[in-house]
């Protein structure tokens, strides 16, 4: 039933390709941005401390979540980080993009003003030579 939904960047998926067993740990790592090894260590510690109850949760999670769609598996590092930020806080990511665009605007303004003033001074020199 879960497979009928369109693939979404903000959904939790198992990551079977990078996983050891069913890919739940690497899915969590991919979703949140934590280190895979850390997630696995925490899970093992929880299983030992919780006398096996987290193991049941692991299997429930593995049963309920679909595997990662193929089109998301080919993401590069930068993109993966971006979507982790989106999951953490969409508002902050939108603000980041805005600040990036502002930075681009500022740099473009620098270039523009340099080009225009440079051409003007060149025109003045030509004018003086005449």
């Amino acid at each position: 039933m879960a497979n009928l939904q369109p693939p979404s960047r903000t959904r939790f998926y198992r990551d079977k390709r990078n996983g050891k067993f069913l890919g739940v740990c690497s899915g969590i790592a991919d979703y949140t941005g934590f280190d895979v090894t850390l997630v696995r260590v925490v899970l093992v510690a929880a299983i030992i401390m919780g006398s096996g109850a987290p193991l049941l949760l692991y299997f429930i999670a593995a049963f309920m979540t679909p595997d990662k769609p193929r089109e998301f598996a080919l993401a590069d590092n930068e993109e993966r980080e971006f979507w982790q930020n989106v999951r953490a806080s969409p508002t902050r990511t939108a603000r980041d993009i805005r600040s990036r665009l502002r930075d681009i605007d500022r740099r473009l303004a620098d270039i523009e003003s340099y080009v225009t003033t440079q051409n003007r001074s060149l025109a003045q020199e030509i004018e003086q030579l005449r």
């Binding site: 369109p6 979404s8 960047r9 903000t10 971006f82 989106v86 969409p90 990511t93 939108a94 993009i97 990036r100 665009l101 930075d103 681009i104 500022r106 740099r107 473009l108 620098d110 270039i111 003003s113 340099y114 003033t117 440079q118």
Partner: protein, 98 residues
Amino acid sequence: MEEEIMGMMIGGLAIVCLFIGLPWVIFHYVTKWKTAATLTQSDEKLLDELHDAARRLDDRICSIERIMDAENPQWRQNCLPGRTESRRLLADEDLRHG
């Protein structure tokens, strides 16, 4: 007699808590979570496109800046005569960090 009544009251209270209070709290947070964390499919697409556009523009401006640096390494100093030193330093810092 009184202890029995007290015990029944406590039992009734526990049942009320368990079957009315707990689901209430759970559903309260479920509805809250459902209304808060919604990023629709189109929102996601829009964010993706914006991010992509920002990255592409960034790359393009970077290559143009490289060309202009090759032509005239001092062009940043010439671009705005009235610009303060700190702003220029900030721009240089940006350039160095990519």
